[in-house]
Amino acid sequence: MFEYEKTLQYPVKIKNPNPALAKFIISQYGGPDGELAASMRYLSQRFSMPYADLKGLLTDIGTEELGHMEMIGAIVHQLTRCMSDEEIKKAGFDTYFVDHTAGIYPQAASGVPFTAAFIGVKGDTIADLTEDLAAEQKARVTYDNILRMVDDPDVIDPIRFLREREVVHFQRFGEALSRTTDRLNSRNFYAFNPSFDRPVK
């Protein structure tokens, strides 16, 4: 089960509203490589993970990603407070505004709503961990691209933190894959699916 801790993982305090930034940062809330997708991917992959240590890793990273989703929600919320009609139009935020006002809706920067098609759960240990490695890299690049577009230090600060977490998670998933192959026969790592088959004697 999950229980809420009433604090962000890392402080988000944005002094100047700026809906033009909110328009694309929302992608890390509900976009293809966003935090909602990350969390759902890892928390769902846990159920078929056969190894105790890696059940732990998927649980811990999946839970941390929920906190990251909350941070992105806080960033978008603070960037879109006290907007005038004029500011909304000038920032190009009108296309989001007509559908969601200043609410936080899981969608990509392009407007595509969140879909489970953004994530993969293959039910195969090697395939799932390889998906997770790619997912962390794609999220890292999305944060890189956001950092190229932003010059407000109040926004850059938490975005850099979130970007760095992708690098750390990539390392841990890579180690998880090594922990997996350590347990398999190196003559053929693909002789069976450890998430599904009983180990071949």
């Binding site: 604090t7 962000l8 850099r160």
Partner: protein, 156 residues
């Protein structure tokens, strides 16, 4: 931003921690991908620095360009709590893939003790962090503003 210029300013190899390399299997068979395992005992940041930099380990700090997040997180009572909590998060992820590292386990336990003490003091002063904390409240203050995503009056 001119990233080429920024990268030119970086030293060719980053010698900061001396722990940039990890261990690979001696016989790495083909048709598999391998990530070097982080070594035990690699250098660590202090709690405040770890939080602001987004990792406990200098060897894993790999920013875009050379934009290291050196702006420190303000060490308010909540900031201190977040810094300790973050160390626990980082050590747990490390231990998930290095479960036989006794030193990291002792460190995790020490930080958990420190966190628990700080958290208790925080809850007594500022109100509940989880619903379980209402046990020491005089009213049902779990619902009090500000919630974490809001700017408190002091923040603006």
């Amino acid at each position: 931003m001119d990233y080429d210029k920024l990268l030119m300013q970086m030293p060719e190899h980053r010698p900061r921690s001396g722990a940039d390399t990890g261990d690979l299997p001696q016989e790495a068979v083909i048709a598999m991908t391998y990530t070097p395992m982080q070594r035990q005992g690699s250098a660590r940041f202090e709690p405040g620095a770890a939080l602001s930099r987004g990792t406990l380990y200098p060897s894993l700090e790999l920013p875009l360009g050379n934009n290291y997040n050196v702006r420190p997180v303000r060490m308010t009572p909540l900031g201190e709590l977040q810094a300790l909590h973050f160390i626990i998060t980082e050590l747990s992820l490390y231990l998930d893939t290095h479960c036989s590292d006794r030193e990291a386990l002792s460190l995790l336990q020490a930080y958990q003790t420190a966190y628990r003490e700080k958290r208790d003091a925080y809850v007594k002063r500022f109100g509940p962090l989880s619903k379980q904390d209402v046990v020491c409240s005089e009213s049902y203050d779990w619902i009090n503003d500000p919630w974490p995503w809001e700017l408190g009056r002091r923040d603006i």
